[in-house]
Symmetry: C2
Subunit: 376 residues, 2 copies
């Protein structure tokens, strides 16, 4: 690896890292991506692939705007990926039907502000719900909100397509390869030390997701938040849209339905638990009673990169090091806008205001300790 040098080194081969690598390579940069396992091995493949800024119930503001921008980038992005890889990544503007049980949240606040903001959102009564779901939703559900522009994608195929597209544009993938720490000299990040030597780079991006604090000298306020998903057979229950309640979402994918998810702060422990599977199955069968007879396929978990707020995008406190992590529940959704925004920033032609997403906004984020100098 001696002498390896890239314009940009990216740590983390999830969808975010791969998408940024592809974007940068398309703009003529030489890019090296360092991934501890294999691209897409973690949260990017564990997700359910919802592209749901509206149904997510976000407040109006910069994060919602970013999420909406990214959702609207998807159709063109997916087209480009198809041209580059001939892969169908299962993007569908299927819409999301958010159902309310009596006594549950009617989500009317969400409806009001989105409607006033001119966003497509519809109120559905029992008849309108039945029409979208072939009558599969429980009769106990009397009302729902429908977000017709929210979409879904097969995040596994998507990550694979983006990786292939990045490789075709000349990105160097070092995987499996552990990044040990950032190489720092003259108060500036100049590369990444890996288990097999130094990767020098003009700029480094930390896209390591839940593992973003791999270099303890530069901790990132991101922690793993486990999500569990159960996959069941969709036979006999063809849903035109994503259907969800307060307790569960049900996502059609191929001949399966994905039932998600949990939000557990249990450290770096992947695993599927009795309690989570039980609750997801019970909630899904309560929402869609015909699911009781559906075939059970399997269950898995992933570790989302959670922050106590919005993602961490853009410059860090260490010159030469940018962040693209902390996307929590919205990493798949935010991939295209993250790739564009970070590529703009690295090329110095960004007019975007990163301040809402800056790591510097966290008062509790430790200031960089005295930086051990090293030659790189």
């Amino acid at each position: 690896m001696k002498g390896k040098r890239a314009d940009v080194a990216i740590v983390g081969g999830g969808l975010i890292g791969c998408a940024l690598a592809r974007e940068l390579a398309g703009r003529g940069a030489s890019v090296t991506l360092i991934e501890k396992a294999h691209p897409g091995a973690e949260a990017s493949s564990a997700a359910a692939g919802l592209l749901a800024p509206q149904a997510e119930g976000l407040d109006a503001g910069p994060f919602f705007d970013l999420a909406l921008e990214s959702r609207d980038l998807y159709p063109h992005w997916v087209e480009q990926l198809f041209e580059e890889t001939q892969m169908d990544v299962g993007y569908r503007r299927a819409g999301i039907l958010r159902c309310a049980f009596p006594g549950g949240e009617p989500a009317l606040e969400v409806y009001d502000w989105q409607w006033e903001a001119g966003l497509p959102v519809e109120r559905r009564d029992a008849g309108g719900i039945a029409a979208l779901t072939a009558g599969a939703v429980s009769g106990a559900v009397r009302e729902a909100l429908f977000f017709p522009e929210d979409a879904l994608v097969d995040n596994r195929r998507l990550t694979e397509a983006v990786r292939i597209a990045a490789e075709r544009r000349g990105v160097t993938f070092l995987a499996p390869m552990a990044a040990r720490r950032f190489a720092v000299a003259g108060g500036r990040c100049g590369g990444v030390e890996t288990e097999e030597g130094l990767v020098k780079a003009g700029h480094v991006v930390n896209a390591a997701g839940a593992w973003a604090s791999f270099d303890p000298r530069f901790p990132v306020p991101v922690e793993p938040v486990r999500g569990q998903i159960v996959e069941v057979e969709s036979r006999g229950l063809q849903l035109a849209a994503v259907v969800e309640s307060e307790e569960v979402y049900v996502v059609p994918r191929g001949d399966s339905l994905l039932l998600g998810s949990t939000t557990e702060r249990v450290g770096f422990i992947k695993g599927v638990t009795v309690g989570a599977v039980r609750r997801l199955l019970a909630a899904a069968a309560r929402l869609l009673p015909p699911l009781e007879e559906a075939g059970f396929r399997r269950a898995w978990s992933g570790l989302r990169p959670g922050t106590h707020g919005w993602p961490l995008l853009g410059p860090s406190s260490l010159p030469g090091l940018s962040l693209a992590t902390g996307h929590f529940r919205n990493g798949i959704l935010l991939a295209p806008v993250t790739a564009l925004a970070l590529a703009d920033e690295l090329s110095g032609r960004s007019t975007r205001d990163f301040s809402p997403f800056s790591a510097l906004r966290f008062a509790e984020c430790p200031a960089p300790a005295p930086i051990p100098e090293m030659t790189c």
Copy 2:
């Protein structure tokens, strides 16, 4: 296969067929076993391995006596198998703790008659329950029956050990090999027609489990009864005994717990359903609340050979053909006694009364139609 001839041909390579083959070969018979897939592929590997004549709640009578006899044969049988194969088949006289929730069955009738019959059975209060289960059983359970002589075995390893022991005694295994029909000549069964030709035999035993009616000319009143089982991690929940309620049993096996089971008459459809997994997990977590945090491993199903009563053992209406099927929930338990009883019968030195288990007891069982003659 031309010219193949055995003293006994057995159709079905489950635990029953393998155990009988081993027993007969040990008595000097030449035995050919015909199995459609591989030995133990079906119910024998899907079971949870309970050896529980007492906890099963059977009435006093010939079937209970047979089951008890078989349970008591186990220790010696397992010793012999160890000598022959060096395999530990996980036999343990762990006891079974049958817990009653308030309002549920106290099973006192079972207690009364078993106690009066001199069988070991104990009433346990909350303290006695906690002592056996390290306090893991729900506080809502105030009483239980404990059957200290009921036992468990790893039915997969057991079936494998019995198969190996049978092979070492010279049994010929034809597997995978489909049995097409019985070969009949002179009003007597003289072998089995397989997809690759005729296996001639002095005597034939149908041990084909749920598939016992493979020859439509000689239907057996057995139907598949599906059972589903969920396997979870036992970490942090070391049970000394099998623990069960009216809804579920929880069987320790290695570092797993097996949660079972359902009783579904859905034909020859294996499969794991949302409803069954949901109910088994909910019932198990209700009985043993610490299970909520246990890791989920997998789920499977098997098809038990169900009758509308007891198993079908001994002579059939067709001379030369005996039955050893219909063991329903008790096939693992009844394997050793079935092997002994059928071997005795085939050698003509049985003094056992097979009438309670005879296929001839079913009035609705079609009498053999005129038998097409063939040379065998």
